[in-house]
């Protein structure tokens, strides 16, 4: 991914991510998050993770976020009232966030000084075939466990919602 592409994707990502947490309306937040997800899918395409890119769209943008939107609309949520918020918590959170981002940026930029060149990509990197092969050999047990987790989550969600 060249620098131009990077910034073309990174800038909207950060902007829409900021909208997610700043917009008072939950629907706009959710829609911004959909946009973030879609841009991330694009980002994944450029990082040679084709399969993951599509999954990002289908799973995150297409399913999870629809679920969020569904709940928002079911509860008919209006704009977030801001009055009762503890001021000390807000201040502390802002300071904490600033420190965290400073630390992360410092950490990552420092690690870049000892950066090696990107490795050569093997044949079929990020394709369905390569991903599936790994998934059903090296990662078979985690895969099965994840499937059970999904089943449990489905049952749990039904039980909770039916109560």
């Amino acid at each position: 991914m060249d620098l131009l592409t990077f910034f073309m994707l990174a800038v909207p990502l950060v902007l829409f991510a900021a909208v997610v947490i700043l917009h008072p309306s939950p629907v706009y937040s959710a829609m911004s998050l959909v946009v973030v997800m879609s841009f991330l899918a694009l980002y994944f395409f450029f990082l040679d993770a084709h399969m993951l890119g599509w999954f990002q769209i289908i799973v995150y943008a297409g399913s999870i976020m629809v679920l969020f939107l569904f709940v928002i609309m079911l509860l008919n949520l209006q704009n977030d009232p801001q009055e009762h918020q503890q001021p000390s918590l807000r201040t502390a959170s802002r300071i904490g966030g600033a420190v965290l981002i400073a630390e992360l940026v410092f950490l990552f930029s420092r690690s870049s000084s000892s950066e090696k060149a990107a490795a050569e990509l093997p044949e079929g990197f990020g394709t369905v075939v390569a991903l599936s092969e790994k998934l059903f050999t090296d990662f078979l047990i985690p895969f099965e466990i994840t499937s059970i987790l999904l089943l449990i989550a489905a049952v749990g969600a039904v039980v909770l919602a039916k109560r």
Binding site: S93, G96, E103, F106, L107
Partner: protein
């Protein structure tokens, strides 16, 4: 040791058999029968099954006795009992000469007492429970004497202790009798503590030389590994146990109180069998005691002191069973005296003859009590000779035997003990003297008892007099059999029979004075009793008045119970109270509650953090993450 050769030979000859297990098994079956079926099938079934089971044991014991190899032993190893590391303890029974004699006495006398009990307990409604206890006792006692190792002996030891407690408190609705049972149990626990410590010390000492065993034969093989001074400590600790079980100073106090139980129980447990467990144990471990002359002299001294001390109390008691109880304590003292001077054979010999005549005395006393409508005070008896002839004559024979009248069993065994006490390398004239005086007193108080009970005018109320009757055949037949045994018991070749264990018996050479004086003193005691209680009863009253302080002291048993109460019981109760009210309630509870209060105080500070706002918790996360990141960056 002089009999080292003989013991080595005994070890070499052990025959494996598999029928010894039936000896304790039959009484155990009786226990099960009595517990589960006794009440349903009724008195008759119980009266047949319970003695029958003991009789079967007796038959098996006889079989074992006849099959006992010359100078060897029978062993029945049932299963591996404990296996832990290098420790292997077999559940094994053995019969050697000592055990053979013991099981014959236990099952034989035990059978007679069972039969007697069917008559004595004929009017008690809880006869099944009684026989369950009695059978359990028999089984435990057999386990004690048959056990091939110290651990099995200890199981039997505790078993007979339990049964003793249960039987003393048999009529548990009576507070006094229930507390007598508790007293017996607690005093025995003191002895058992010593026994256990001795056992551990022995085990540990042998273990130091890599002998992890408790089997008697193996202990005997490796006895050289025990240093003499350790042996002394072990022997003294074991003797504490023996003193508890066999009612020696200072742990004898429970035995007189144990008379609260049914009289056949007193005969079986507190005269013939259980109380001899201590003697049996020391005789069994003679090779260990042989290592420690010090311990032996302690045993002899305590034995002699007990013999004398209990006899003095017996002189003035008026309760027929109390007299017999102190007599028992006294006679047990003689046995320990014999053991203490190294005359194991004599001690065991006296054990056997004593079992016969003391069981007879108790059963006779039971017969009297039965006939007198449960009256035990001899001052309210008298003149029973004509009304209960069988009881009188058998009682008379027993008194002759215990008084040491020549020709009867007691004469042989007691004389032998006194001669050994004088002549044995460990003996001394002092021990002989004390024993001889005690023998005189024994004769005196036994005949005092006889005369006051059976001669003169009956002093009971008219109502009671009307009911006086001879006991049924189930009671008188055992009396007769025991009377025969009391006469002929002294002629059994026991001294030779026991020689493989204790070495060949050599008649001690003593001066004629020493040899015959105890007999003379005994006859003198009889004569004195005759003069004081038959010819001129006023003398006794005058003496009691003239020596009233002394009489009072004896009558109140030297106030030993009161002293124990003041010196031991009250401090313990006081300390327990202190422990309860101060240590437990204030210190321990205070610590625990204080810890809880401290936690609560700290918690109430910390829970300010727990304000329920998820975002505050998330902020804590963030701070933690920042800290970790900062640590790695720094």
């Amino acid at each position: 040791m002089e009999h080292a050769h003989a013991t080595a030979q005994a070890l070499s000859l052990s025959l494996s058999v598999s029928y010894l297990r039936y000896i304790p098994l039959f009484p155990l079956l009786g226990v099960l029968f009595n517990i589960f079926l006794g009440h349903r099938l009724g008195r008759k079934a119980v009266n047949i099954v319970s003695p029958g089971m003991v009789f079967l044991s007796f038959l098996v014991s006889l079989h074992a006795f006849w099959n006992l190899p010359e100078g060897g032993r029978l062993v029945d190893t049932m299963w591996l009992w404990i296996s832990s590391g290098t420790l292997h303890v077999d559940f094994a029974l053995q019969v050697d000469q000592l055990s053979a004699m013991m099981i014959l006495v236990v099952t034989g006398v035990g059978f007679l007492i069972h039969v007697y009990s069917t008559g004595y307990m004929a009017h008690d409604h809880d006869v099944a429970r009684y026989f369950a206890y009695l059978n359990l006792f028999t089984a435990s006692m057999l386990l004690l004497v048959l056990g091939e190792n110290l651990l099995l002996l200890f199981v039997g030891w505790e078993g007979v202790g339990l049964c003793s407690y249960l039987l003393i408190g048999f009529w548990y609705t009576d507070d006094e009798k229930a507390s007598a049972g508790k007293k017996a149990f607690i005093v025995n626990r003191v002895g058992d503590a010593g026994f256990l410590l001795g056992l551990f010390l022995l085990f540990w000492t042998l273990g130091e030389s890599n002998v992890w065993t408790l089997s008697f034969s193996t202990i005997q093989q490796h006895i050289a590994a025990v240093p003499a001074e350790v042996a002394t400590v072990i022997c003294l600790l074991l003797f504490v146990g023996a003193a508890g079980k066999s009612a020696q100073i200072p742990l004898y106090v429970w035995l007189p109180d144990a008379m609260a139980g049914p009289t056949p129980v007193s005969a079986l447990i507190h005269a013939a069998t259980m109380v001899t467990a201590g003697i049996y144990m020391i005789a069994r471990l003679n090779f260990l005691y042989a290592l420690s002359p010090t311990a032996l002299s302690v045993v002899a001294t305590v034995g002699a002191a007990t013999a004398f001390f209990a006899a003095t109390i017996g002189l003035v008691q008026t309760d027929i069973k109390k007299v017999l109880a102190y007599s028992t304590v006294s006679q047990l003292g003689y046995m320990f005296l014999a053991l203490g001077v190294g005359a194991y054979t004599a001690g065991v010999f006296h054990l056997m003859t004593h079992a016969f005549f003391k069981a007879l005395l108790f059963l006779g006393a039971g017969s009297v009590i039965h006939g007198m409508s449960d009256e035990q005070d001899i001052t309210k008896m008298g003149g029973l000779k004509s009304k209960m002839p069988v009881t009188f004559w058998t009682f008379f024979i027993a008194c002759l035997a215990i008084a040491g009248v020549p020709g009867l069993s007691g004469f042989f065994s007691k004389d032998l003990i006194l001669e050994e006490a004088y002549a044995s390398p460990l003996g001394s004239p002092m021990l002989w003297l004390v024993g001889t005086i005690g023998a005189g007193m024994t004769a005196f108080y036994m005949f005092r008892l006889l005369f006051v009970t059976f001669f003169g005018e009956n002093r009971a109320s008219h109502e009671v007099q009307h009911h006086i009757h001879e006991s049924p055949a189930s009671m008188t037949v055992p009396l007769a059999i025991l009377a025969v045994l009391s006469i002929v018991g002294g002629y059994f070749p026991l001294l030779h029979f026991l020689s493989p264990l204790f070495g060949e018996h050599h008649e001690p050479h003593v001066a004629p004075l020493i040899k015959y004086l105890p007999t003379v003193v005994g006859l003198g005691g009889i004569a004195l009793a005759y003069v004081m209680y038959v010819l001129n009863p006023a003398i006794a009253d005058n003496m009691a008045r003239g020596l009233s302080a002394f009489h009072k002291l004896l009558f109140n048993k030297y106030y030993i119970d009161e002293i124990y109460d003041a010196v031991i019981v009250r401090p313990i109760v006081g300390m327990s109270n202190w422990l309860w009210k101060v240590w437990d309630a204030i210190v321990i509870d205070g610590t625990v509650n204080g810890a809880a209060h401290t936690m609560e105080a700290n918690g109430s500070l910390l829970r300010l953090w727990q304000n329920g706002n998820v975002q505050n918790y998330a902020l804590s996360f963030l701070i933690g993450a920042m800290a970790i990141l900062g640590y790695y960056l720094w």
